[in-house]
């Protein structure tokens, strides 16, 4: 790694000041540092300062994870009267560790999909160091991006090597010209819980998670819409008690998901009244599947055939590349199983030793 100064700001505002001042020519925020050090070791980045936000907490929040009921006034999000069974919300500090969110009884109770998405991400070593904001803002895993010698579009070059090259793990949705899949397990889970990121250092207080990312055609060199100097202090999301996550991996172990699905449902009088479905590892951004969600509404949670039929719509509109057509088939399976997880029904293949 190159030489750098380690800056230890005392607050997020202070950190933002360091980023926007001219003191350093290339200051980079560091939380757990897993993705930042990875970029430095690959010589993709050579920051002259790392600005450490690992130990900071949002103003006024004492615990990394806090739950609230709707009666508490809160200016971030509009209440969702339709999801009437769920009327609480959760705040999680940007610096909360993935392991702590994954095992938090509050998160597990309020929004199982969020806890499950992180329990399934990476390894104990990574979850014990990686943070919530770092997970949301980690850069893509495309192997051409990650290797210095490939000067691809994302790094200012003139071509996407994945188009002609090895694209088994790339996107099946989206027009390009870059075909990454978004790497975060957490982002799609937050999508089905109407999550937000709360910000300092810019003009806005918060952004919906659905507004945090953009497709490559709207800017190829970054994946998110934060302004320079904008820092995430915490995230918040709505309670979605009937929710679930399912990920399909080569080894069902620490490896990156081939595809995964996040589902939130509201069930009333044995009918699904609301559904929200988001897929991961299939597109450059968390990929909502509104046609699956629409087809689930009105269906009984016990009507396996109708649920399977709804899930078959998951691959609609997909444009697979040469080597990733298999993802289209996996996607309907992942969505179906995420629904089973949400409904607490048995999931095929989830026996002891295969979790």
């Amino acid at each position: 790694m190159n030489r750098f100064t380690l800056v230890r700001p005392k607050s997020y505002a202070d950190a933002s000041g360091v980023l926007t001042s001219k003191t350093y020519s290339l200051p980079v925020l560091k939380a757990g540092g897993l993705d930042v050090l990875d970029h430095m070791k690959e010589a993709l980045w050579s920051p002259d300062a790392l600005v450490d936000v690992k130990r900071l907490m949002p103003a006024g929040q004492r615990e990394p994870i806090a739950t609230f009921t709707r009666e508490v006034s809160w200016n971030g999000s509009t209440p969702q009267p339709n999801w009437s069974s769920d009327n609480g919300f959760v705040h999680v500090a940007a610096s909360a560790l993935l392991a702590d969110v994954a095992s938090s009884p509050q998160v597990l109770a309020a929004a199982p999909v969020v806890a499950q998405s992180l329990a399934s991400a990476a390894t104990p070593q990574v979850r014990n160091v990686g943070t919530v904001a770092g997970n949301l803002l980690q850069r893509p895993r495309c192997w051409y991006y990650r290797q210095q010698q490939f000067d691809c579009l994302k790094k200012g070059g003139s071509q996407c090597f994945a188009v002609e090259g090895e694209n088994a793990y790339h996107a099946i949705f989206g027009p390009g010209p870059c075909h990454i899949v978004h790497p975060s397990n957490l982002a799609p889970a937050l999508m089905v819980c109407d999550g937000r990121v709360h910000l300092v250092g810019g003009k806005r207080d918060s952004l919906k998670i659905s507004e945090l990312y953009h497709m490559p055609e709207k800017g190829i060199t970054s994946e998110h819409n934060l302004e320079p100097g904008e820092i995430i202090t915490h995230i918040s999301f709505e309670s979605r008690q009937v929710s679930g996550f399912y990920s399909i991996k080569h080894k069902q172990s620490f490896d990156w998901p081939l595809v995964f699905a996040c589902v939130a449902l509201a069930v009333d009088a044995n009918k699904i009244t609301h559904a929200s479905v988001c897929a991961g590892a299939v597109a450059p951004v968390p990929w909502m599947l509104p046609s699956v969600a629409a087809a689930l509404v009105g269906v009984s949670p016990d009507d396996d055939a109708a649920i399977t039929a709804a899930c078959a719509k998951a691959g609609e509109g997909a444009k697979p590349m040469r080597d990733n057509g298999y993802k289209v088939q996996l996607l309907s399976v992942a969505v179906k199983r995420a629904i089973l997880v949400a409904l607490k029904k048995p999931v095929p293949g989830q026996e002891e030793g295969n979790s």
């Binding site: 380690l6 230890r8 020519s25 540092g33 390894t123 104990p124």
Partner: protein, 208 residues
Amino acid sequence: MSDGVSRRSFLKTAGASAAAASLAQVAQAAIAPPEAGVPATPTLGPDATDVTLSVNGKPMKLRVDPATTLLSALRMECDLTGAKEVCDRASCGACSVIIDGRLVASCMMLALDAEGTKITTVEGLAKGDELDPLQLAFVKHDALQCGYCTPGLVVACRALLDKNPKPSLSQIKSGLSGNICRCGTYTNIFNAVLEASGQKPIADSAPV
């Protein structure tokens, strides 16, 4: 470096005389005072700074620059070579240590970030000549071949048992999912953990 030149990209592109000139610039930039109006924020480096790490219950005084990883501080400065460098990317677990009760990959953590924590390395598990019961179980179940992954795995197993004294087989598998053994000794490692937690080992022929 304050002029935006990374050492690596710089060394690649620059000729020798340009190198001398630019290194002088860099040295100057490194001592330049921060701009007026910027609030004083604590900084460390870029030159080596003093740090005291608590390793296996002992304070260790070191001098490291910010770019030094905890793994390299342990191996090069503390002479604790149990933790190994294999992938250098938090992907294999060979460098695992326990920090404040949590299993972490020391290759992807800055040594300066470990200040104020309690670090346990594989060298800290035995009490004098008396091996940790887990280490004895590794010996009994022949849970290693080349041994390169072993220090990291022993530490990962210890971290797992400290949290969960009687893990199920699937909990063992997920607790050790960040540690790779290229020799494939997994079944024997699972048996060592089962034994050390007072549980019945699985048959040798059980699928892994």
